[in-house]
Amino acid sequence: MCLAIPSKIVSIDNQMATIDVDGVRRQASLMLLEDARVGDYVIVHAGFAIQKLDEATALESIRLLRQAAGLAESSKSRKQD
């Protein structure tokens, strides 16, 4: 019911968004979000986008995760995107 994988908004018509989850298109209502735009990544629960994901925070989370795992300095550290 709750897609933990972030979905990308590909179009918006009124309060309804078409979202892309790993290549699959679905509909999600935007009634629970303030300011969703095409291109945003959102978490979808039971047909509603419930949260917008902020890219900077997502990248920072990954950096902290690698640090928690003691891998911050590892050669595998990914700096792209």
Binding site: C2, M31, L32, I43, A68, R78
Partner: protein, 366 residues
């Protein structure tokens, strides 16, 4: 893009490293409860228990909305399905939950008009297409789902759809934590807090609970590294003797959560006492309609009176939900209770603890 795939959260090297750190930090036996059913599933699916040192016991909590729905409510759902006037709409998880005498699925097989929907908006569409019949959505869920139901109610009201009704059986999570933290029989050293309930209520939604109990808490996501990172955070808090309310799911959860979702929820519902399977009636743990929107309240409009009934004989769901028993400690587990022939809701729902043990953990023992 990292935000999309977040492969790091499934990276076995990261998982192994986190597990090694947990092993180093954790010196004495600790008991952690994962409150949310989606966490329970993820812990089994990814074999998290096998990565953890044996000092750590993970206990599954009451975080499966279908499972905590009282038997009286389940029977009332079946009663609604038996009313030939009514169209019942629901998420799929409820269909096979056994009531005292029947289930929604059995009623549907007998000709009842029960329709599984993907979203509450689909239920509003059904109401629009059937203006002469009451269309009742079975409102089961926590803070993640309640705003989607509130949004559907407001949408129906704005569109003049008066035959869209909701049976409000929603529950809210923090009052349940209070009861669990105060129960000496459960002995919890730390809580792995739910991810998507937290998206809505934010880290601050737990502040009062945390300040009262000073018990280690961490909000985490659902990937293996998310869960391990949360467990590491809890182990550190416990070992250092410094409990905290930590957010380990920052990419989705903020301090304040989703204020718009909460505002819609508060516009439609107000907090009330609610009865949970296994945990009993808890003050302020449910949501009922506000007077202004009572026209959409199925209980008021259709005059439903849930009758208290005993839970299925021999089913230990109540104790499983409270973390007092593990499913294999139930005499019916696996025989006769299985996902195809469930005795209790914990074996039905995709988020149910008994279903998780049955599907993934039968060989792990208790």
């Amino acid at each position: 893009m990292a935000i999309k795939h977040a492969a790091e959260y499934r990276d076995p090297e990261i998982a192994r490293n986190l597990a090694a750190r947990i092993r180093r930090v954790c010196r004495r036996p600790i008991r952690l409860m994962e409150v949310c059913g989606t966490h329970t599933m993820s812990i089994f699916r990814h074999g998290i228990r096998s990565l953890l040192p044996e000092q750590i016991t993970l206990i599954s909590g009451p975080g499966c909305p279908v499972c905590v729905t009282s038997q009286a409510d389940i029977d009332a759902f079946v009663g609604l399905a038996r009313n030939p006037e009514v169209i019942v709409t629901t998420f799929g998880d409820l269909m096979r939950v056994p009531g005292s005498g029947s289930s929604l699925q059995r009623e549907k097989a007998r000709g009842a008009d029960v329709r599984v929907v993907y979203s509450t908006m689909d239920a509003v569409d059904i109401a629009r297409a059937n203006p002469d019949r009451p269309v009742v959505f079975l409102g089961v869920g926590f803070e993640t789902t309640a705003p989607t139901i509130a949004a559907a109610v407001l949408h129906a009201r704005q569109s003049g759809i008066t035959n869209f009704l909701v049976y409000p059986a929603h529950k809210i999570v923090p009052p349940a934590l209070e009861v669990l933290a105060s129960n000496p029989e459960i002995r919890i050293d730390g809580f792995i807090l739910p991810g998507h309930v937290s998206v809505i209520i934010g880290l601050e939604g737990y502040r009062e609970f945390f300040d009262r109990h000073r018990i280690p808490c961490a909000v985490t996501g659902f990937e293996p590294a998310d869960i391990l990172e949360g467990i590491l955070a809890l182990a550190r808090q416990i070992e250092s003797g410094r409990p905290a309310l930590e957010n380990r799911y920052r990419r989705a959860v903020s301090d304040q959560g989703n204020p718009k979702a909460r505002a819609l929820m508060q516009q439609v519902f107000q907090v009330a006492d609610a009865q949970w399977r296994g945990l009993g009636t808890m003050a302020g743990s449910g949501l009922v309609f506000r007077k202004e929107l009572a026209g959409h309240d199925a209980v008021a409009r259709l005059g439903i009176e849930p009758v208290p009934v005993p839970e299925p004989a021999g089913c230990a769901c109540g104790q499983v939900l409270a973390g007092i028993k593990t499913p294999p400690q139930c005499a019916l587990f696996g025989k006769p209770c299985t996902p195809t022939q469930p005795v209790g809701p914990c074996m039905v729902s995709s988020e149910g603890t008994c279903a998780a043990y049955y599907r993934y953990g039968r060989h792990e023992g208790a």
